[in-house]
Point group: C2
C-alpha cells in the first residue's frame, strides 16, 4: 500500500530520472514479450466483432432520459447529471468575427482519464482498453485503462462499476506518476476539464476481457494508424513525465538530422529559442491583450442557429450540428441508450510546423483564444481549423500557415494520420493530425505565435490551463516519432 | 529600446542568475545613496500632510456616478465600467458551512500593478509611490509605481494620465522581469486578477512628485511597520524572480538557526519535504475533491443579508458590510468622488506557521477553497481568518492552527505587523500578518495542508492560480526577514 500523495522516502519520486529512464526504455521497446503487435491486431479485431455497436440518428425529441428545458430549450439529462447542451454568446472585440452565438456542451464534472502502468520483464507497459464509443467512425478505439465521468463512477447510470477505477481514487494502490487537470475542446466544451492520471503499480493486476498491456513503443506505433488511439489515451500519454525519449547513446556533434533534433527537443538539455519564463510572460501578454466575454444563452435563442427535427444547425450549414443518436451496443451485456452529440461539418486539420533551430527541433505554437477556456487562451497547434469553414471567405481570412502545411512536399511531412476526437460527445469528429517541417525561413510573423521545444511543452503540461487538447495530441505524436529507428 | 517579449540575445534573460544576484544585492542594501530611511519618513509624512484626504460614510442612495440596478439591486457604475457589486450563491457540499449567500465585487477588467526598477550605483532600486486610497486607515501608503485598472488607464474617469504607465504597456522601454496574472481576495472578489509586473529600465527616468527610489532592503525594513507597504506593492514584490536572498557567504555546516534555515528555504538548493511535482499533484487532488458551485444572484435577493440606509449587512453583523463613502482628496489637484466599499467587521489574522526541517525553513501551506477563485482552491497561509466570526461557534469549528499562532511565546514570533488590504475597494481592512515558528512536533494533520519552502512558493508564483494574495504578502514578509542581519 503506497500513499499516493507522499511516496515513501527512498522510493523514486515521480518526475525523477529513474522514472524518466523507465519511460524512455518503454518508448524504445518496439515489441513486448506479452502481446506482439500482430497478436494485438487480431485481438482488437476480435473484440470489435464480438461486440457490435449500432448507432442511428434520431429526432431530438426522441431522446430517452433527456429532455429539452421548456423555457430555454437546453438539452438536459433527466438526472440533472452528465452534461447539458446550452447556448453561448461570445464577444471578442479583436477577433476576426468579434461576436457570435453557438451551442456548447456544459459538463462541469471533472472526470478521470487514467492509465495504469506496470513493469513486465523490466519494461513499463500501459494497460490499454478496447472501448466502443457511439461517435467513433469505427466503433472501437484504443483507450486509457479508465475513462469515467464522476456520474459514471458514482453510478448515476446504474451500470457496472468501472474496472480498475480503484487505482485512481483516494489513497490508491500504486504510485501516482501524473495527476493534472487539463482542458478539452475550447470551441465545443464550456470550461470542461478532465483529470489526466498515470498510476504505477507493482502488485499483480488481473487482466480483464477488453484490456491489454502494451509498451509505449507499441502504443506509439499504433498512433501511426488512422482512428485507432483515441483522444483520451493521447492526452494522458502527453502528460507522462517524459524528460524525453532521449536516445540512449550520446548524439554525435554536428548530427543535424530530424531525429537527433527531435531527441534534443524532447530531452530538454537547452538550445531553446525562448526560455520558459519568456514563454510564460508571453502567455500573460496574450491573455491580457485579449478581452473575451462569454454569457450563457438559452439554446432556443441563438442568433443564426435553428432547430429542426434532427438537429440544431447554423443557417450556413457550417461549423457543426447538434444531433441525437440511438445506441445499441452488443456483446456480453447489451446496452441501449440515446444521447445528444456534436457532429462537425467536415474533417479538420491539426498541425505543428516544426523547424530545426541550431540542431534542436522547435514547434510553432499558437496562443489561441477559444470561448470555452477557463483562462482566455491556451497553447495550440500552428494550425487548428476545419478548412471548409473558410472556403467562402477572402484569402486574408484564411488561417495562418494552413497553406504552408497543406502544400508541403511529402519529404517534409513527418506525421500525417487521421485521428478521432472523443467519441462519447462528438459524432465522427476527425482531424488530420500533421507534423510538417517548415521552410527554413518560416518565422512566427505574428505576436500570437512562438517557437517552443517539445520539452518546454511537457514542462508546461505539469500545470493546468496551458496546452490545449489538440496540441497535447501532437505532443504524443511527436513522442511517437522519437522512438522510431533513427533516419536523418 | 528593448523588446519586452524577446530580450536581445546576449542580454541576461529574466530569471537568470544575473538578475537573481542583482535582486539579492538589493535585498542586502539596507540603505541607499539616493534616499535614506530617515529622509524617506520625512518625505512621506510631508506628502501626506500636503494632500489631506477626507472620507465619510454616506447613504448608499447618495452615491454619485453609481446606481442600484432597479431589478437586481446590484451596485453599478453609470459608465458600466470599473466594478459592480452583486450577489453570489455558494454551494460547497463538504465545507463546514455547505451553502451561503454573500455580496461580492465583480471586476472583470485586468489591471496593472507595476514596479519600475533601475540600478543606481550598481544597486537595484524600486520606484515606489506615496498613494492615497479612501479605504486606508492612514490615508497614504507605499504603493507600486503603477496601480491602474483598465478603466483608469483608458481614462474612463477622465482624469490625468497614469504616470509611468508607458513602461508597462505594449513594447515598452525596459526589460520585463516579471509579468504574471494573480488572483486577489477570493472571498470578496469574483475571479478578479491583476497583472503583476516588474520592468527594469536603463534610461534616465524623471522622478515625479510623490515617488521615491528605494532598495529592496529599504522596502523590506518598511514592511516591518504597520499599515505602510500596501497590498499591491506586496504582491508585486512577491512575484520578483528571487532565487532567494541567499547570504553572500556560504553557510557553515550544522548552522541550524532561523536565518540560515530561511536562507536555505529561499535559495532553493533542495532539502524540501515534498518535490514541486508532488505539490502539483496534491493541488490537483484537492481541487478535484472539492466541488464548488457558484451562481450570481441579485444583490437584493441574498438570504440573511439586508440593505439599510448606509449598508448591506449580514443579519448577525459578522463578516463584512457593503458601505458607501464620499471622498475629498486635497493637494495640488482636488478630487471628489464617491464609491461603494467592503468594510470587514474586524481585524483578521494571516499567519504562516514555519518549521525548520533538516535545516531548511518550511511554511505550512493550506490549499484553501474560496468562492471567488477561478480554479477552486489556492495555496494560502496556515491561518487566514477573522477570529471574531468564530466566537459563537463550538471549539471544533475554530480554524485549525489559530490557537497555536495566537498563543505562541514571543521568541517564536518572527514577524508580527498589521498590514492593510487594498484601500481602493476595502474600507479599513486590516490583518495581523504573522510568521510564527511552530512547535517542532507540529504536522499538517489534515490533507489540505503541506510543508513547502519559500523557493517552492516563488517557483509557483511564475504561474497564475496557485498562491493567493494573503500568502503572497507573507512571501514578501519572509523575504523581508531574509535580508536582516543574521541572528540565530
Amino acid at each position: 500500500m503506497t500513499d499516493l500523495s507522499a511516496p515513501p522516502v527512498g522510493q523514486p519520486a515521480a518526475g525523477s530520472p529513474f522514472i524518466a529512464t523507465k519511460i524512455a526504455e518503454s518508448v524504445y521497446a518496439r515489441d513486448s514479450t506479452l502481446t506482439g503487435l500482430d497478436e494485438f491486431h487480431r485481438w482488437f479485431g476480435d473484440v470489435a466483432r464480438r461486440s457490435p455497436c449500432e448507432v442511428r440518428p434520431i429526432p431530438l425529441d426522441d431522446l430517452v432520459g433527456w429532455h429539452s428545458d421548456p423555457v430555454t430549450g437546453d438539452l438536459v439529462h433527466d438526472s440533472g447529471r452528465f452534461f447539458r447542451v446550452e447556448g453561448l454568446d461570445v464577444h471578442i472585440p479583436d477577433h476576426p468575427v468579434p461576436r457570435w452565438n453557438q451551442p456548447i456542451i456544459n459538463q462541469s464534472e471533472i472526470g478521470i482519464l487514467g492509465i495504469l502502468v506496470k513493469e513486465f520483464d523490466g519494461v513499463l507497459h500501459c494497460l490499454m482498453q478496447a472501448k466502443v464509443e457511439p461517435g467513433n467512425v469505427n466503433g472501437f478505439q484504443l483507450s486509457p485503462t479508465v475513462q469515467a465521468t464522476r456520474s459514471n463512477y458514482t453510478r448515476v447510470h446504474r451500470g457496472r462499476a468501472v474496472p480498475y477505477l480503484e487505482y485512481f481514487l483516494g489513497q490508491g494502490r500504486g504510485r501516482l506518476i501524473t495527476d493534472v487537470r487539463q482542458s478539452e475542446q475550447g470551441s465545443w466544451f464550456y470550461r470542461k476539464r478532465n483529470r489526466n492520471m498515470v498510476v504505477w503499480v507493482e502488485e499483480d493486476v488481473e487482466l480483464l476481457d477488453g484490456f491489454r498491456w502494451l509498451t509505449l513503443g507499441q502504443v506509439h506505433q499504433l498512433l501511426g494508424e488512422d482512428d485507432l488511439v483515441n483522444m483520451d489515451a493521447r492526452t494522458v500519454l502527453s502528460c507522462l513525465p517524459f524528460s524525453g525519449a532521449a536516445p540512449l547513446t550520446p548524439l554525435a556533434a554536428g548530427d543535424e538530422g530530424f531525429h537527433p533534433a527531435l531527441a534534443r527537443s524532447c530531452g530538454g538539455a537547452g538550445g531553446s529559442r525562448h526560455t520558459v519564463d519568456d514563454i510564460l510572460r508571453w502567455i500573460t501578454e496574450v491573455r491580457s491583450r485579449s478581452e473575451v466575454t462569454t454569457a450563457r444563452l438559452p439554446l432556443n435563442r441563438l442568433d443564426r442557429w435553428h432547430r429542426t427535427e434532427y438537429a440544431v444547425t447554423h443557417e450556413t450549414g457550417r461549423f457543426f450540428d447538434l444531433v441525437a443518436v440511438d445506441v445499441l451496443a452488443g456483446g456480453r451485456e447489451v446496452k441501449h441508450w440515446s444521447q445528444p452529440m456534436i457532429k462537425p461539418c467536415d474533417t479538420g486539420v491539426v498541425a505543428f510546423l516544426v523547424k530545426r533551430i541550431d540542431g534542436v527541433l522547435h514547434a510553432l505554437v499558437h496562443a489561441l483564444v477559444e470561448p470555452g477556456y477557463l483562462d482566455v487562451a491556451e497553447l495550440s497547434p500552428t494550425v487548428q481549423c476545419t478548412p471548409v469553414n473558410f472556403d467562402h471567405l477572402p484569402a486574408e481570412a484564411r488561417p495562418m500557415f494552413l497553406d504552408e502545411v497543406l502544400n508541403a512536399p511529402p519529404e517534409r511531412i513527418r506525421y500525417d494520420v487521421v485521428l478521432s476526437e472523443e467519441g462519447g460527445r462528438f459524432f465522427h469528429a476527425r482531424n488530420r493530425y500533421m507534423i510538417v517541417e517548415a521552410e527554413q525561413e518560416t518565422e512566427p510573423g505574428h505576436p500570437d505565435f512562438r517557437w517552443m521545444t517539445v520539452h518546454q511543452l511537457v514542462e508546461l503540461l505539469r500545470h493546468s490551463h496551458y496546452v490545449n487538447i489538440q496540441a497535447r495530441s501532437l505532443v504524443a505524436c511527436l513522442h511517437s516519432l522519437s522512438g522510431q529507428p533513427s533516419a536523418a
